[in-house]
């Protein structure tokens, strides 16, 4: 058996570019993970459906627009509505320190801001997989 870690990298909201998401996707790929990338401007509903269909172990949300306090908890809400509780959800992008406790309370396992070494994200995923 060769269990591979599958990560859905998703960009909720109306961001205009996805350079950061692509950098993290590439880093996870180079760490031996299978990364499904869904592209820009996804709704939380689309992200959750994609994660279910792809049987993702991890959802990595990236956002720049400032709508994280609305969109991240919405993803968590939809996951729990669907009875999905074994997916690790992490976030990144431009997120003020002050918002982090709220997001963690909503169920986002960790937030990785600008300048986080990609290794930190990779190690976090490996250590915190839920299945």
């Amino acid at each position: 058996m060769d269990r591979k870690i599958r990560v859905l990298v998703a960009k909720p909201g109306l961001d205009g570019h996805d350079r950061g998401a692509k950098v993290i996707a590439r880093a996870l790929r180079d760490a031996g993970m299978e990364v499904v990338y869904t592209g820009l401007r996804q709704t939380p509903e689309q992200i959750v459906q994609a994660a279910i269909q792809e049987d993702a172990d991890v959802i990595a949300l990236s956002i720049l627009s400032g709508a994280h306090n609305h969109l991240f908890p919405r993803v968590m809400e939809l996951l729990s509505e669907k009875g999905v509780n074994d997916v690790l959800v992490i976030g990144g992008g431009v997120i003020p320190e002050d918002d982090i406790p709220f997001l963690k309370k909503a169920g986002i396992a960790e937030i990785f801001g600008p300048g986080t070494p990609t290794k930190a994200t990779i190690d976090f995923i490996r250590a915190n997989l839920k299945r």
């Binding site: 591979k4 993970m33 299978e34 869904t38 996804q42 459906q49 994609a50 269909q53 792809e54």
Partner: protein
Amino acid sequence: MTDVPEAARRIRSGDPRALARAISRIDDGDPAVIEVLKALHADTGRAHVVGVTGPPGSGKSTLVDKFVREYRERGLTVGVLAVDPSSPFTGGAILGDRIRMQSHALDEGVYIRSLATRGHLGGLSGAVMEAARVLDAAGFDRVLIETVGVGQSEVDIVRLADTVVLVSVPGLGDDIQVLKAGIMEIGDVFVVNKADRDGADRVVREIRSMLETALVNGASPRALSGTGAADRGGHHIAFAAREAVSSHGYGDAHGLPPVLKTTAETGEGVGPVVDSVEAHRAALAETGLLRERRLRNVGYELRGALGNRLLARLGTPDAVSRLDRLAEDVVEKRRDVYEAVDVLFEELC
């Protein structure tokens, strides 16, 4: 998924989480899934499996997205398996086909799954055949399989699909490219995508000319027998020749497979491609060739499975040291390669 009847029931009912988990277990080589696949066997064989193949960047994902839309408008449900390459160095992969297909994410009549090749050559993933069966058992009317971007010889899709859509684009090379053996032989429906670009009509002419020549050369008793020629090379030609005397709308008046232009980005020309796939499907059923193709493909699958099982036996420590000793015998000229294989074969079987 230890509860086999429950897992099979959820898959049959089309539960996306059950499908997704089963496909992961197939992909990871988890032996626990085999009992589930056995339980589903009787529910397979209903979906029409369509392969979509062509070079990198030819627009396969965008075309598949538009095929899904077209099928949904016709009231049919669709499962999609999209394959992208794994890194030969890290084993990681970026699976990006889904980007073009996300408009269907909320449609319950559509299931889309990305798969990495995981070292498998030939344009597909080792899991794709069994994954297609799972989608078949789940009741999807059509299963679309998008291969990795292929070069000249990744033709595994022909051993899996009922209908192969071969996508070309203008600007890839001269007319010798379409004469070469391999990929150009496997199409049942030929699509020239990005038809808004210069040179599309030339590619259409070159493919038609290639098909006409093949029809002339292939119109031998062997090609018409449907056995020998039913193998890879010339299979569509054998088919086309039969089709010339049939009447269901596949191919042209001379029995040649269709060559159609599309602009996937705008959806232009996609309807006629789906019409052709459906006509091919009807023709396969009507002529008995569907059964013939599936017999041939299951034959390939059985050979592959047997080979895998033999190789698995070689994976035990005892077998490895035996193999190493035989290798030494060959290098030291105590045995030749053929004799060494005879010895191994005797011991493994």
